[in-house]
Symmetry: C2
Subunit: 526 residues, 2 copies
């Protein structure tokens, strides 16, 4: 049987395994024609060995080459936009426009170019020099390749071989072993082809980028825990993420996970009083974006009881009812949301609307709202924080601000938390009470704004406390900060000047690089 | 039976457990009179609850108070230097002078004062502001207390309630739960008393510092994995460290470990030719410092075969033989080094000198040198990297630079790695070959310098790849960098100006704080 080739050690070759799989078009549940291999032990061993060799060689490659690679790759993506949009649409059912072509694709190339800029400019490595003792340090690439496991919901911007983790790992100087998301292997194949062309053009080590489509679960565990691996990045389900984490942890290998988040949105009474309908409309837009399959989707909405809140719920319900639900990414996703809604119901949540699969050619689940009172939520917080990945949100109606604070106190680590409040200060006291609980539970705290839409800027935190991620100190979005996940701290003590890396030599290597010299951030030479 | 009180929730009180232990004077193997409790479940629960309350309250405490506390504590330590030196000497047998009084004590107060400076000055939190989107972020304290497990070998500078981890955790705004090292409970008691006096004086939350002496192992695991814990820091044996790591990892709790390191020292032929005796003398000093019980002790010395290397070994052996061995910290330490030397011998290392316990009033092991050829080392690297904690080093005699490189390639993650080379460039080619393997295996690379003596400066890295530590991106020494272990990244997206923490408000809160505003490090206001 003919199937697509894998990219290992600088060669497109057949996988050494006979098992294969198809992608499925979520819009009609039909298998797509192309066949892709499931890589076995041999492929995984080879990809790791080649990645390790690349890591060793890349240490001494000029940083400029990484920048050139990232830019060349971004250019090629733009040139091949039609093909990418076409296949990604078939594999994910995400709209071609504006989502794929005008949203996610430019975001992807923008990330790659920002990563190129960071790689070239060097400030990201936090070069620190103490002249009195001649001790110098900086962050630098890891001792082995970075394995990246991409999610199903962003076929471009978080793709394992074009997305944020990929760009950050490469910009920091690491080779990447991409494990395609099995929902969009064809999209990933094109990216791998373009990336490898860019590798050849720039003359980086041929195993700087490698790609396999799928492995049996035990080989995924092997990949993240192998002695030659530098670190891993995973975006996806909590269940899969925790299994990988356990394997990586046991081997002492860093792994950065983005696993699950219900992204609580608190709407205080003054905000409801002031602009109920506007907030409902904005919130629905955020809940339904991408059929609700965003990591920052607002899955939990917390109000305080009263007539105005009931009216708000009514308005929001109308929006959920009157808009057609989107197509989910896979049958697994459809089963997942169905199961999650049942768990929420069993835990005491009442269905307001939706809650079931929709008869459709594609994978469709009704736009869903549930509600529960604050006391019930507080008494069973774990089950009531089950992530229903899709356009399904649970409304918690609390008695008052004290109970709202209690709700916040039992919320798990999340990527985001929003507070809507009265613009003229009516809610300020309540805000203070609530913020004191919420702040440390979320990576990004928002005011009067929905959580979807993650700006790729240096001050972004797309991270948060466990179990939203595996470590509260790192972000997956925002350059150059996201690069720090894929680095180690290297100190040079009394090392002779000609043996120092350029970032730590007396002369500022770019003239624009920020360095911390004797406690002062500066662009000057030592 | 009367025994010392524990410091829990702002009170010195009796432990709720009847089990107790004594410290032992390593110089005469006699139990010291004071009795200390082994804390049980009740103590551990209370210390965690109180620590969590303190963490919540400390979030809004002025940063200045942390600085005042650290300075007040440092002053009290100086005032009580006599008592501290006296008890630490009894509990550790480390020399009163210069080691305890003139070395470790000033280092400890210096660390606390540097931490105070960092806490006051605020640059450590990496405030990052993007004005175009009004997204601001900074590092801040964790959601719960930091538990600190101190090692036996630095009763002051790494003490769980006065050392580097303590200072870093407090300066970042976290309360600390100190678990005393059971070898020096009396020293730790005095520090806890002084720290608590300073807490009261500065008006910080009474549970900002808490201290228990000892727990059964399962409660140690509970401490690092409890949902209320922010993070943990551990310095000590690999065996104990890995058990704590497994528990913390499983619970998704950050833990920073400093576990073991053999600190390879490579001496290239040109350096031997040029200054053999000087290097031997310097190296012996480093090997024997603190009876060899330093985390950066040179446990592995790599030479290339030849007459000059044999002469070097002879000179080094004479130094090992002619100097009296120091007293080890405990009977466990004595058993540990005895066992480790046996493992090294079984793995093919030949004893040059020492290798056995010395009949003495105290715990003494002979200064020990072993040797092995490069081929044997490469064929059994794991056992031959067994850490013999004390004045015991293994010399590896390699055939040539290629085999030296192979030796480097099988070395595990270490805190430090040194290369001695010819000062006029004779070894430069060999250096390049060797460095390419060694660099990523060690946190700190040194030239022509022994690894002991860890400067407390911003560019220090007292960390390294696993298994030297649990994460290659962090340092345990060097302010403010070491503080980042005990922080999370907090982002503020569209948060109203009056609700921002002072570090992220438009006005620079100290005038001296460095912030990254729109990509420029600056002290200006927004």
């Amino acid at each position: 049987m003919a199937y697509q080739k894998v990219l290992i050690a600088g060669k497109w070759r057949n996988s050494k395994t006979p098992v294969c799989f198809n992608a499925v078009n979520p819009a009609n549940k039909q298998s797509l024609p192309e066949m892709y291999p499931v890589s076995g032990q041999d492929d995984v061993n080879e990809v790791i060995s080649a990645g390790k060799q690349a890591a060793v060689e890349l240490r001494t490659a000029p940083r400029e080459k990484f920048a050139q690679f990232l830019e060349s790759f971004a250019d090629r993506i733009e040139t091949n936009a039609d093909a990418l949009v076409e296949i990604a649409h078939l594999e994910t059912a995400l709209p071609k426009e504006p989502r794929l072509r005008n949203g996610e694709l430019p975001r992807t190339t923008d990330q790659l170019r920002k990563a190129a800029k960071a790689a070239r400019e060097l400030s990201w490595c936090h070069a620190t020099i103490e002249t009195s003792v001649n001790i110098r340090s900086k962050m630098g690439p890891l001792d082995g390749p970075v394995s990246v496991f991409g999610p199903n919901n962003f076929p471009f911007a978080f793709n394992s071989i074009s997305g944020g983790d990929f760009a950050a790992a490469i910009a920091a100087g690491n080779p990447v072993i991409a494990k395609a998301n099995t929902c969009h292997p064809g999209t990933t194949f094109i990216f791998a082809r373009l990336a490898f062309e860019a590798v050849k053009e720039t003359g980086l080590h041929p195993a700087t980028v490698q790609m396999i489509y799928r492995t049996p679960p035990d080989l995924g565990l092997k990949l993240v825990s192998h002695p030659y691996i530098g670190a891993s990045a995973f975006t996806g389900s909590k269940k899969a993420g925790l299994r990988l984490k356990a394997a990586a942890d046991k081997a002492g290998k860093p792994i950065y996970l983005e696993m699950s988040s219900v992204n609580p949105v608190f709407i205080l009474p003054g905000a409801i009083e002031e602009r109920s309908d506007d907030i409902a409309a904005e919130l629905f837009g955020s809940c339904a974006l991408g059929a609700g399959q965003f990591c920052t989707n607002p899955g939990l909405i917390i109000l305080q009881k009263g007539d105005r809140s009931e009216q708000f719920i009514h308005t929001l319900t109308e929006a959920f009812d009157s808009n057609r639900p989107g197509i989910l990414l896979s049958s697994t996703g459809l089963e997942g949301i169905t199961e999650a809604v049942e768990i929420l119901k069993s835990a005491g949540a009442a269905l307001i609307t939706g809650g079931k699969k929709v008869e459709d050619e594609g994978y469709v689940f009704a736009n869903t709202l549930l509600r529960v009172d604050g006391k019930t939520f507080i008494s069973n917080p774990q089950e009531l924080q089950t992530e229903a990945f899709g356009a399904a949100s649970l409304i918690v109606v609390a008695d008052d601000i004290q109970q709202t604070k209690e709700v916040a106190s039992v919320i798990e680590g999340n990527l985001t938390g929003c507070i809507y409040s009265h613009t003229k200060g009516k809610d300020d006291k309540a805000y203070t009470i609530l913020e004191s609980e919420l702040r440390t539970k979320v990576g990004r705290l928002l005011n009067d704004k929905v959580p979807t839409g993650v700006a790729v800027v240096s001050s972004m935190n797309h991270g948060g406390p466990y179990p939203a991620t595996g470590h509260p100190g790192f972000t997956a979005v925002g350059l150059p900060a996201s690069m720090l996940r894929f680095t180690a701290l290297y100190c040079y003590d009394n090392v002779r000047p000609n043996r120092l890396p350029i970032e730590l030599q007396d002369k500022n290597p770019t003239g624009t690089m920020w360095r911390l010299i004797d406690g002062e951030w500066t662009k000057r030479d030592v």
